[in-house]
């Protein structure tokens, strides 16, 4: 056995107290805890802390280039590591749009500059169409070569089904997954609010869940017809869960994500017109929350994602209808989803799978499963640490979250990437 450089002692992994041994930035071994001496190794006492593989977020908006006042790559990645994430996939709606290799290269360069000694890995998502305009395909091969991990038009889904088909076909040749933000734009003239009782009383323009489900159905049929994989972003409603379950029974190659806010909030949060509750797709009903949780349990929903969408305070502090959609999520996602474990709504195994194995396998990203040779990306987590989410303890520039002021349970105590302590 090589000599360990780092030993994490008496951490809890899968219910057992273990020692984690790291050498050359990789996992050397995980062994039952002992008092063995490791000469020359840094030893970190971790009794009572949970050992977790670093998380992967397949859906963030880092805003750079173009909107650095909301977030830049450095601040976004800083929030990520404090939130427990080592792999970050960022969407293409920057300015300029990430629809060519030059922008992709620049994003990767800035990530490297932010953490020159090694930090969280950035995997840009390239635009499916040039300028996200939904008219011409982007040069996906050159972007894949430059480092894009997937392709998506995200917030500006392609209206033209024929062009979407061609985007799937062309994109599949690169070997990178296609991600779709499911929303029929004709059925969704207004964004950020669910069409339902609350929108009706508040007098807000809204979109029905059918706007999401109709496009989920289109994508599933397309994926089946083309026999290609499709990844469906931020699923928010029962109708979509039902359709995905139907497709999975038919062995359609589909994976799907949902976000913490769709599991912990409903449209009722919009009372009072708090623009931090405005998110696209919108917060839905208690029935939708129930369906999403059931979908997580039975494997219909494969993974979590934050849909981290930071905005500046002055952009959100306007009339609700004028406010941009989005919740800043990287700082709080872990604690929020941990509450689902603490409340017995999902198991610990599901929690870990949804943030690690499932996204890494779907998007072919580095995964630490604590096997010898895996990247030593892990964090120590105190499940009993209570803290209040506020503007000061958020590392993202975006403080726009409806959970601000809430007491959260569970926090990252330290985070190691390739065996180096980052937090």
């Amino acid at each position: 056995m090589s000599h360990p450089e780092l030993v994490i002692r008496k951490a809890v992994w899968k219910g057992e107290e273990v020692d984690l041994l790291v050498a050359d930035g990789k996992i050397l071994d995980v062994i039952p805890s002992s008092d063995a001496m490791y000469e020359g190794a840094e030893v970190v006492a971790a009794r009572g802390l949970l050992l977790m593989p670093s998380f992967t977020d397949v859906h963030t908006h880092l805003r750079e280039p173009g909107f650095e006042y909301k977030e830049d790559i450095a601040s976004g990645l800083k929030a990520a590591v404090h939130g427990g994430f080592s792999n970050i996939m960022c969407m293409a709606n920057t300015d300029p749009v990430n629809d060519n290799a030059v922008v992709t290269d620049e994003m990767l360069r800035r990530a490297k500059t932010a953490f020159p000694e090694g930090g969280p890995r950035l995997f840009p998502i390239g635009a499916l169409t040039k300028g996200l305009a939904g008219e011409e395909l982007s040069p996906m091969h050159e972007m894949a070569e430059a480092g894009c991990a997937a392709f998506s038009n995200d917030g500006l889904p392609i209206k033209n089904s024929e062009l979407f088909r061609r985007a799937m076909e062309y994109g599949s040749d690169t070997g990178k997954p296609i991600i779709d933000h499911c929303e029929d734009p004709y059925l969704a003239p207004a964004v950020g609010v669910n069409e339902g009782e609350v929108s009706s009383v508040l007098g807000l323009g809204a979109q029905p869940d059918v706007a999401e489900a109709a496009q989920v159905a289109r994508d599933l049929l397309m994926a089946e017809y083309l026999d290609m994989h499709i990844h469906l972003a931020h699923i928010s409603c029962r109708k979509s869960v039902d359709l995905i379950a139907w497709a999975k029974k038919r062995r359609v190659k589909v994976t799907a994500e949902t976000c913490p806010h769709y599991l912990l909030l409903t449209e009722e949060a919009l009372h009072g017109y708090n623009s931090d509750t405005k998110v696209n797709p919108p917060l839905r009903t208690a029935d939708d929350v129930e369906a999403l949780l059931a979908g997580i349990k039975d494997g219909t929903i494969d993974m979590f994602a934050t849909d981290h969408a930071p905005h500046a305070a002055h952009e959100k502090e306007v009339e609700f209808m004028n406010a941009p959609c989005g919740i800043s999520g990287l700082d709080s996602a872990l604690s929020l989803t941990w509450s689902l474990v603490a409340d017995g709504k999902i198991t610990f195994e599901t929690f870990v799978r949804m943030w690690t194995t499932a996204p890494c396998e779907t998007f072919d990203l580095p995964l630490n499963s604590f096997k010898k040779g895996d990247p030593a990306d892990f964090f120590l987590f105190d499940p009993s640490d209570e803290w209040v989410l506020n503007s000061k303890n958020m590392h993202s520039k975006g403080k726009n979250t409806p959970f601000r002021g809430q007491t959260l349970k569970g926090r990252v105590i330290s985070h190691f990437l390739s065996g180096k302590k980052i937090v």
Binding site: S200, V201, L202, G203
Partner: protein, 307 residues
């Protein structure tokens, strides 16, 4: 009654007793409006900004007149003449106004929730003069006051609200107020102009105007925004008028003493037959007169509340 509210955002905030108190106060001020000299010093030394970020004739004039009759200084600000047109945010415009230390701001705004947005940020009273599709509490109070003056009580009466319910803040606020005061509410309009989930509202819903009019004590017509045709919600105004406009035939189905109301401005010949708008049963101009008295009552209650 000691007035405990800082702001008037929606009639949901008011208890039945408080609405009744507004009616009684408005009755008192109505009398002032019939005097040869229609001015009293009640609010002398107070100031109110009439901030109208959306076009308005009657609501703005009504508040202006109400304020002036109580010797309150009123200052008008329209979106077109404010820094909102230069890109200033609503928050900054409002903070600027507050720095001038008015006692109240009467706000008309196209965005639902705008009045609440200001109320949460400013110390002075905010009176919602219509926010998006959400609420128009002073219109509901003046409509209720108009009927209260006619009937003495709204208890047990049935009021039909007819037309574009989906986009109407008047319909939403009137539903709440009329229910609160013991009246039953019916809504009628084409399905495209009824809000989703209306089945959960405390109202009977019709798409057949003749069925809806049977036995009602009052019909409130709502203005049809003519662009609804371009929005794809209506085929054309002719068909709308024929199937959903209030005409003589429908009035004959209502109670003999039916009252006809309209918050204005009216599209004569579209949502209401022109003769009906002017007939004896029409309370359209009474609503305007009641509006001044009701707004005098509201300015008085909100500006003189114990702080």
């Amino acid at each position: 009654m000691e007035w405990r509210h800082k702001d008037l955002l929606d009639v949901t905030q008011l208890s039945k007793e408080e609405v009744q108190h507004v009616f009684e106060t408005a009755t008192y001020f109505q009398e002032i409006n019939s005097r040869p000299v229609k001015k009293v010093p009640t609010l002398k030394g107070h100031s109110v900004v009439l901030f109208f970020a959306e076009p308005s004739t009657r609501t703005k004039t009504s508040f202006d007149m109400a304020g002036k009759r109580l010797s309150c200084d009123t200052f008008s600000l329209a979106k077109s003449s404010s820094s909102l047109t230069k890109g200033e945010t609503l928050k900054d415009t409002a903070l600027t106004l507050q720095a001038m230390n008015p006692d109240g701001i009467v706000l008309r705004h196209w965005a639902s929730g705008a009045a609440q947005f200001l109320a949460e940020r400013l110390d002075c009273s905010i009176i919602n003069a219509g926010d998006g599709r959400h609420a128009h509490p002073t219109q509901a109070l003046l409509d209720g006051f108009t009927l209260y003056q006619e009937w003495g009580s709204l208890e047990g009466k049935t009021v039909l609200i007819l037309g574009d319910i989906a986009h109407s803040r008047v319909a939403r606020s009137n539903l709440t107020l009329l229910n609160k005061m013991g009246a039953k509410v019916r809504f009628c309009g084409p399905r495209t102009l009824l809000p989703p989930y209306i089945k959960n509202w405390d109202a009977e819903v019709y798409t057949d105007i003749n069925e809806a009019c049977k036995g009602v004590d009052a019909v409130m017509c709502l203005r049809l925004q003519l662009e609804r045709q371009q929005d794809g919600l209506l085929p054309d105004l002719r068909e709308y008028s024929n199937y959903f406009g209030l005409g003589h035939k429908q009035i004959e189905l209502a109670n003999p003493d039916v009252k006809i109301m309209h918050p204005g401005p009216m599209n004569r010949g579209v949502e209401i037959n022109s003769e009906l708008a002017d007939c004896e049963a029409s309370l359209v101009l009474d609503q305007v007169a009641s509006g001044v008295a009701t707004r005098m009552a509201l300015l008085y209650l909100y500006l003189t509340r114990k702080k």
